[in-house]
Symmetry: C2
């Protein structure tokens, strides 16, 4: 069970941008910073722009910046948008419905619930919580059992799916 590098790179990009809010950053900048292939970052950046997390500027002097402030970018949402295969088991795909246990597999229900828990945990965090550096706001300490306190203000917009 792992997330793709595509997703991790996506998160690194927005973290980088959150840390450098005063100027446009280029793909080359970020690729250099993290020592990852710029060719891969191109696709990442494109996706992030499509999904509205960043704004890009073409041409000389161009680059990218966050489309919103870090406290309005939710980690769970970003992972949902960048990880394109969230099919825990074979039967989660509209194709591959050949498992004889369908349609009433109790295991599948459990896996659905587990995935929900995974994403729900991510939903408790915003980019401002994971960008590191000096963030002297009242950020919920990590590793805290998040069921015990109310999520700090906005950061999570309910989505229909």
């Amino acid at each position: 069970m792992r997330l793709t590098k595509f997703t991790d790179y996506s998160l690194r990009v927005v973290i980088y941008l959150a840390r450098h809010p005063d100027s446009l950053a280029t793909i080359a900048d970020i690729a250099r910073e993290y020592d990852i292939p710029s060719t891969h970052l191109m696709k990442v950046v494109h996706r992030l722009a499509q999904c509205g997390y960043i704004l890009t500027v073409r041409g000389k002097g161009g680059g990218m910046r966050l489309a919103r402030t870090p406290d309005l970018i939710n980690v769970g949402d970003l992972v949902r948008d960048t990880e394109d295969n969230m099919d825990i088991a074979e039967c989660f795909s509209p194709d591959h419905q050949s498992c004889p246990m369908l349609p009433a597999c109790a295991l599948k229900s459990v896996l659905v619930e587990a995935r929900k828990s995974f994403l729900a945990t991510l939903d408790f965090y915003r980019l401002s919580d994971i960008m590191g550096g000096a963030t002297p706001s009242l950020v919920a300490p990590l590793h805290q059992a998040h069921g015990t306190f109310a999520p700090p203000s906005p950061g999570k917009k309910k989505r229909t799916s």
Copy 2:
């Protein structure tokens, strides 16, 4: 993000065995039932035996059966034992410690917590909960917010890791 077929097959095997408690089942039996390659099942069965979930009997008339009753087999444990790569991100592996964000990456902490949530959800279920069929015991209904009730009796032994 997906689990391997190896893990799903492992679960199918124990479900099958739970449903057929009165005789030894062979790899061929189970492969036929689910229409999956017996060659893959061999490895699955071997792992399940190594981890103590099933007992195998070699030779003519041999086969396998559960080593414990279904209410003593925990889904989370079984997934931990069969899914051999639980490295959500690159940095989770002892090798690949090259990400410049280490060692104080706030994102990693969040991912660790999310993985914990995923497995904790699975920990709430036992084989007896997912084996389907007529189980007229007081089983917790699936999809229920499991934070709101006490886990039904045993089924989950705390492990040190």
